[in-house]
Point group: C2
């Protein structure tokens, strides 16, 4: 199996996540890529206690990585726009493919970087630059390529969404929540980029260029932050049936493009209005597909690493695979597909909703709960309604904790055998999806 060699520059939050996920999921990742992805070198000014690089070639000089003749792909995770730009341009000059999570760099200098990469015939991939773990770049470049994109609107700054969510849920002030977000590490010590909307503007510019096919133009975004949103406004929004979200909005008109970031009232019944906390979501409206939405973590070590590595796999497939069949049909190369046993339903654990029809006599409920208890099934909620005047049977509703289906089947059999229970027990499985 061919080996594709990568060099990681930067070992901070995203760098350590990338290192750890590649190391941990090596078997899956290689089976998907169809080659052996090797971290050949790491360049970082200092070690990170969250990443065990003891058996890896680590250099303190990040330029050693881009000049390392063995390396096929340089992964830039140092952030900022000065040194990172220099590093990436040098990597391109050296004929290396580049993966970056650097939204500011792509938004502000992407046109120049892409032109250089085109001239050298190498690729620069940047899935992680927008909305962390959500594969929105691929979606716009590939998944929705049939569409005239009409507009898109995104919650694309997790810190801002966390602050607005806390303000709404707990009636807190902007300043109060910001201080907590900084203490928790969600917000930077200098929160300017997050709260003034600059971070969202960087991402919006990239999304708009992908949607409408235009060069990146960061200086044209209208940008308003969330610092002036007051608790009163949050309360009135709720009263009026709205939520306040900090949105990046791009919309196509024949006469031009709307490109704006600002707090926005949106109807509470929209799915995106219910995206809370640090999560991100992007709503995209295409002329053929209609409305689609992409939701997930917009930042964080391993979520962002997920997108960085997706780009590495993409490049590795290109560098190594049969060009006629770059992406394997089922995601993994055919010879890596494994037979897995499919579990019989009896072995599967879920919670259960049960609805019984019971004769309204004393002691019925205790018999039912005894049967469940004997099977090791604990009850999470129970509803027994008063019988109506003309009823002899009353519905009993039971919500149980998770239990193997075969135990529940036995319990249901015993319950149905009680002479105080009428007919079949209705059973619907419960999943928390947490």
């Amino acid at each position: 199996m061919k080996t594709v060699k990568i060099g990681i520059c930067g070992l901070g939050t995203v760098g350590s996540g990338t290192f750890n996920v590649i190391t941990r999921n090596q078997a899956e990742i290689n089976a998907r890529a169809g080659c052996n992805i090797e971290i050949t070198q790491v360049g970082a000014r200092r070690d990170n206690p969250n990443a065990d690089t003891s058996t890896t070639n680590v250099t303190r000089d990040i330029f050693e990585v881009v000049n390392n003749p063995e390396i096929d792909i340089v992964v830039e995770l140092i952030g900022g726009t000065t040194l990172a730009k220099e590093l990436i341009l040098k990597a391109i000059e050296n004929g290396k493919h580049v993966v970056t999570a650097n939204k500011a760099l792509i938004a502000e200098f992407g046109n120049e970087i892409f032109a250089q990469a085109n001239a050298k015939g190498v690729s620069v991939a940047y899935e992680a630059a927008v909305a962390g773990g959500i594969p929105i770049i691929r979606t716009l470049r590939e998944g929705l390529s049939a569409n005239k994109i009409q507009w898109l609107a995104g919650i694309i700054n997790g810190t801002g969404n966390f602050i607005l969510t806390e303000m709404r849920d707990k009636g807190r002030t902007f300043e109060d929540v910001l201080a907590e977000a900084q203490a928790l590490g969600y917000a930077e010590a200098d929160p300017t980029f997050d709260v003034e909307g600059i971070d969202a503007a960087h991402k919006l510019v990239i999304l708009a260029s992908l949607a409408f096919g235009m060069p990146l133009q960061f200086d044209k975004v209208y940008c308003e932050g969330i610092a002036d949103v007051s608790p009163e406004d949050v309360t009135y929004a709720t009263e009026l049936g709205y939520r306040i979200k900090h949105l990046g909005i791009a919309r196509h008109h024949e006469s031009g493009i709307e490109l704006r970031v600002h707090p926005t009232f949106i109807p509470e019944r929209r799915l995106i209005a219910n995206v809370d906390g640090v999560d991100n979501a992007i709503l995209v409206k295409g002329d053929a597909v209609g409305s689609t939405m992409y939701y997930g973590p917009g930042a964080g070590s391993e979520p962002t690493a997920s997108s960085v590595i997706a780009d590495v796999v993409d490049l590795a497939r290109m560098l190594s695979a049969d060009p006629e069949n770059r992406v394997p049909y089922l995601g993994f190369v055919a010879k890596s597909l494994q037979e897995h046993a499919i579990m019989p339903m009896g072995e599967i654990e879920t919670g259960y909703y049960l609805r019984l029809s019971a004769v309204d006599k004393p002691g019925v409920l205790s018999k039912v709960t005894q049967i469940l208890s004997d099977q090791g099934i604990s009850i999470e909620a129970l509803i027994q309604k008063e019988p109506k005047d003309d009823q002899v049977e009353v519905p009993v509703i039971v919500l149980t904790n998770r239990v193997k289906e075969k135990l529940m089947n036995e319990a249901i059999g015993k319950i149905e055998a009680l002479d105080t229970i009428v007919g079949k027990v209705v059973r619907i499985r419960v999943e928390s999806l947490a």
Copy 2:
């Protein structure tokens, strides 16, 4: 510019949508693909009044399309598993790439079809086979390739979700809503595949294979439909804080894979619990990325066409583009990027939420509404609270219809100039995102 020639077999709902979207969005699609995508031939037993094929080479013999030596890509949209299988295998034998929307065929015969395609060195793409317009196949194969997928759960049958949504919202019975869905054309005349969960099982098998790297095994899915869900259960679910959704669930355990389709109670606070009507959504949990969700239309002519064409573009890029840079950086090939004017904020129309602080005197409100009216701004909602005992100023909240920002700026200037208005007017823009 190179021309990639496609032949469309089948001119039903998805076939006509594919034909129409390719025709309508030709410029965008070609700029994304980096080549000229031409519908060289259509094979269909009969014309479709929704697609104007008068200038297209149409044959009544679909096998003429797969045997047409000019054609690079065969798009199979006839459905079913007998003739469609024969057609696709013949196309592969003839060395043609294939795009299909046929979930039953891929779920039941995908292993054989992929093996044949591998042997001949051609591609078979099937984005449209699962969840219509949502690019979930790409997401699992490419976007989340760094992850051990732990589980996924999806609303992957639009008809079923429509029925459950109507039952909940309007207290209707299953039979009643099904009859309406059939009349509206959401459900087939023979609704077995939808209501018994077979359609969802087809899709789940494909998703599970992509997630866990295993051959397709349709015969192993546990499958329960929605016909037995009663209005009472829907009511009790609401009372308990849950929604009933028909889910396909696949989960990885060391001992085996859960693979099941059944009605499921899920907590109402989950985003996916709020996916209503004919829409689909798939929640995917990866070990690195965490929880992500993909939402959109799961069926329909143009939404499904969106995915079919995305596959065509992907293949066309592979067949025509510089192999080192298959997907253009910004989705469109560099020379097709266009400068678009970014609209000044003054020209942008949105609704507005305004919060004013007014001296509690008669006539204040009429002055404010007069100013708005003079600017052509209509009011959608207005809240004026009674002053509290010690207050001399009262908040006034106005929600307006859509208006150009410059007109609103003028109105706000005039309102702030009133001697009965204290301080600045707070203004937050409103978007319906409909």
